[in-house]
Every structure is written in C-alpha cells, then in structure tokens.
C-alpha cells in the first residue's frame, strides 16, 4: 500500500477518536467544548513522558487515556453547571492553560523544545510494517470507540443526554440532574482525546506545545459540523471531508506550481474555511444529516 495513503489513514483515525468524543459532547449532549485539544495534549504528553522514561507503550497509552479523563474532572467541577456559553469559554481557557503548562514546566515537558524520540508503538518492526501496525492499532481503537458510541446512543443514558441537548430545564423538571450526565460525557470524551493524543505522540515521535493550539479543536468542530452533528456516521464522514480538504489542498501546487511554499499553510486554512462556508450555505445539516432530521 502507498505509504502516503497509510499515513493519511492513521492521521484520520487519530482525528476520528477526537471527533467521536466531541460529537458525544456537543452532538448528543449539547455541551459546547472549545477546549478539546487540551485533553489531546494531556494524553500526548502523558504517554510521551512515560514512554521516554522506560514505561512500556501499552501502559503509557492506558495512562494517557486515564490522565486525559482525570484532567477533565476539575474543568467539569468548576464549570459544568455554568450556562453553555460560559462553559465554552471556560473550556477554551482550560486548553490554553494546558498548553501554557506544557510550555513553561520545562522540567516535566522540556518546554518549547518539546519531547523527541518518543518510541514507536511496535518497536520490533520497522518501515512499512511499522506504519501498517500503527494503522491496525488506530483502526482497532476507532472501531471500539464507534461501537461504544452506538451502545450509548441506544441506551437510557443516551436518551437522557439527548433530552439534555433538547431542553435542559425540562430534564430538571423531571427530577434528573443534567450535571451528572454532562460530567460523564465530558470525562469519556476527554478519555478518547487523551488516547488520541497518545497515539499521535507515538506516531509522530516528537511533540511540542505549538502542536496543541486551539485550531486543532476547531478543525474537529468543522469535521462534525460538515459531517452531521449528533450522528456517528456524520462524524466519520466529517473526518473524511476534513482530510480531503486538508490533504487535497496539498496537491494544489501540482496544478498551480506558481504558489510559493510559504503560502501553502494559509491556503490549507483557507480551503477548510471555504469548505465550512460551502457546507453551512448548501448543506447546514451536514453530509449525513444531523439529529434534527429523522
């Protein structure tokens, strides 16, 4: 298989884990999380720090998922009862704090230089087989996450989070406290983000604070909006659309070689911005249709 395609598939899987978590939080529960990248960052650093200090990768992945989840706890305690727009701001602030800590606590994170030499997941194999092994493990996690989401959607828990999304006051009037449900959703989504971050760290092999900017969060938002909010199929479709626009703009130079290298980053940004605009104009419910269409 083409190495380039494998690489894209791996990155798509890493994005998909993030997107599934955000879809659970926003699409199903209505929780506006603008700080998703913070938990991705926590997971990446957790696994990177542990594995570069000799902890086996299997354990560092597990730790990353758990620490990603635990990192969401204080955010939830402080802000889950806030109005949704305040929660959005609090979560954004949280992810920026995470990035600041990663930048300034050099003893732990190696500061702006970042952490290099993060071990691969299967250190025994090399080259193409290494990439294929990585793809396999990412795929396994994605399939498990999708199955988990399907189980949630069909459960009484899933019913209640959708009720919260539709009308929080009515949920309270029935004697059910939305806060507990939102907290669980925040924790599970952050666990997926933590795991995703760990996979990313082991795949890229090098992490630094500037990789965990809020723009990552917004890419995930764009993916779920373009695919169809509140739908698992929409989340999968959205990640594919996002990758097509991100990667597709790479090939722009093949047909338009006059574009200078330095302009490419801006063009990629412009491309997904354009995609989002086209979707909101022509297909606001996303490719697969969102939860309002049934």
């Amino acid at each position: 298989m083409d190495a380039y395609l494998i690489a894209i598939a791996i990155v798509s899987g890493i994005y998909l884990l993030l997107a599934l978590g955000l879809n659970l939080q926003f699409g199903l529960t209505g929780l506006i999380n603008f700080g998703h990248v913070g938990f991705f960052c926590v997971g990446a650093y957790t696994s990177a720090i542990l594995s570069t200090n000799g902890v086996p990768v299997a354990w560092s992945l597990l730790a990353a998922a758990l620490v990603g989840m635990l990192a969401a706890w204080p955010l939830g305690v402080i802000s889950i009862r806030l109005r949704e727009d305040y929660f959005a701001i609090a979560s954004l602030g949280f992810s920026e704090i995470v990035r600041l800590v990663a930048t300034s606590e050099g003893w732990l994170t190696n500061g702006v230089q970042g952490i290099a030499g993060i071990p691969r997941i299967f250190s025994g194999v090399t080259g193409q087989s290494q990439a294929i092994a990585m793809l396999a493990i990412v795929t396994v996690f994605c399939v498990l996450a999708i199955l988990a989401m399907r189980r949630i959607v069909r459960s009484p828990f899933g019913r209640m989070i959708e009720a919260i999304r539709d009308n929080e006051e009515a949920v309270k009037s029935l004697g059910k406290d939305p806060a507990g449900f939102k907290m669980q959703v925040l924790l599970l989504g952050s666990m997926l983000a933590g795991l995703s971050g760990a996979l990313y760290a082991h795949y890229i092999g090098y992490i630094s604070p500037d990789q965990f900017i809020p723009f990552i969060t917004f890419q995930i938002w764009m993916a779920i909006i373009m695919g169809g909010v509140g739908r698992i199929s929409g989340t999968v479709a959205g990640v594919i659309i996002l990758m097509v626009f991100l990667e597709g703009s790479r090939f722009l130079r093949d047909i338009a070689p006059f574009i200078p290298e330095v302009a490419m980053a801006s063009i990629r940004l412009g491309a997904i911005g354009l995609a989002l605009m086209l979707f909101t104009i022509y297909r606001p419910q996303g490719l697969m249709g969102d939860y309002t269409k049934r």
Binding site: S155, P156, G158, E162, E169, K172, S173, L174, D177
Partner: protein, 253 residues
C-alpha cells in the same frame, strides 16, 4: 398529599411580581390559579418548583419544608410542573420523551450502560410497558413515534402531562394545560385529571379557560399584579366584584 405555599415573593428590581402569595392544598385536591396576564401565576409556579429563586417564602410538601431545595430535588420530592410554553424534547419521539421521564433508571449512567446491559434491558422493558399505558391513557397513540417537535400545541401539552405522570409525581402543577387544546379534548382531559386525582395525585392548575377550570377545581385562587385577591369555591370567586374588576380592568391592558 398536602401542600403549603407560604408567603412566596419575587421582585425584579423594584417591581414585585409575586407578593406574599400563600396557597394551601389538603389531601390531593384539584386547585386552580387564575388571574389576568402578567399577574404572576407562572412566576409563582417557578418559585414553588425551584426554577426561580425568590425573595422569601417557603413551600411545605407533606409536612416537610423544602427550604432552598433545588428544582431537581423538588421534582424528586414528587412536585412536578409543566411549562406554559411546552418544553418537549423536540428531536425525540413522543415515546422516547415519556421513557426519559421514568424515575430511578439504573441505565442512566455509563458504567451500567457498558457493564450491566442485561439489567438495563430488563428495566427498559418495564418502563416501556408503563409508557404504553400512558400513551393509551392520553390517546397519543397516533403520534407515539413522531418527533415531539412536530406535535401541535395541544399535543405538546398532553405530552408534558404524560411526562409528569411518568415521573410518579404526587403533585402535578399544570401551566395552562388547555391552551391550544380543542374543546372536545379539554372535556376529555378534565376527565383524565379527575381520574388521576381520584388515584391520589394533587393538581395545581393555571388556566385562562375559566369555564372548563371552574368545573374541574374545588377551589380557585385569584392573583392580580402579584397579589392574591380572592380565593374560595369557583362560583363564589367568579362572582366576586374585585375579581371581575381585575379581569375587566387588568386584563385589558
């Protein structure tokens, strides 16, 4: 079931919209609250059910003062309200709306969802049975699988009553249950409320349809500009001069 609403008050800045209102219900009764637009009826409901923080007053349910219990705790204590503007779960079907209202669901957390699916499924079956009963009782069968957002205003009112019933509430507070409901159905709905009341559920009802309401309730409380201006048997209250004045004078603005 007994309810004592004691001196409830609410002010917005200098404007007192609910002014020391007291209402007593003994033994699962059906009681009406009337008054012209803006009298403070819905605000009173929000105060009693904990959806608004008031300026003084208390609610005593079955002898227990609720103090500053939250809206969720009050509903759990058995006091469930509906909303003047229906708050259906718009993107869920009528059946799902009702399922969601059932109390004490073990499946409502992620641990049981993943690790105890069998017991969750068992409870779901039980709840589904009760939901079918409620759907039959309220004649919502034809729309059972319709997203609640697509229901008519009257059907949404019925759905909210259904959800309140599913919670197993002992006191149900209905804010204009007859608004948007056709006259034939109003008669039927009144009959249902009587049936439920006979089973021991108390009702506190805000309603502008005085004809239908006075046939249903044993007692009327009248509010005007935040204050209680009259209370008593429907016939007596409706012929009260101050009440007529409030409706003709206050209702016209």
């Amino acid at each position: 079931m007994t309810l004592e609403i004691k001196e409830m008050s609410k002010a917005y800045g200098g404007l007192t919209v609910v002014d020391r209102v007291s209402i007593t219900m003994e033994d699962a009764d059906i009681i009406g609250v009337i008054g012209p637009n803006g009298a403070g009826k819905s605000t009173l409901f929000s105060l009693v059910t904990g959806f608004l923080d008031g300026n003084g007053g208390d609610v005593v349910l079955d002898g227990k003062p609720l103090g500053n219990a939250s809206a969720v705790e009050r509903a759990q204590a058995g006091m469930v309200r509906t909303f003047q503007v229906p708050r259906e779960f718009a993107h869920m079907t009528v059946r799902e709306n009702l399922m969601a209202a059932a109390p004490g669901q073990g499946g409502e957390n992620l641990i049981t969802t993943f690790f105890r699916p069998a017991s969750v499924a068992r409870q779901e079956k039980e709840i589904a049975g009760k939901v079918e009963e409620t759907i039959r009782f309220l004649k919502l069968g034809v729309v059972a699988d319709t997203p609640a957002g697509r229901l008519s205003g009257g059907q949404k009112k019925l759905l909210e009553l259904g959800r309140a019933l599913m919670t197993g509430a002992k006191l149900i507070m209905l804010d204009e249950p007859f608004a948007g409901v056709n006259p034939v159905l109003i008669e039927e709905l009144s009959q249902k409320i009587r049936e439920l009341n006979a089973r021991g559920i108390g009702f506190l009802i805000i309603e502008h349809d005085l004809g239908a309401l006075s046939k249903l309730v044993s007692k009327l409380y009248v509010m005007d500009r935040g204050k209680l201006i009259a209370s008593g048997e429907p016939a007596a209250v409706l012929s009260d001069a101050a009440v007529r004045e409030a409706y003709i004078g206050g209702g016209a603005n």
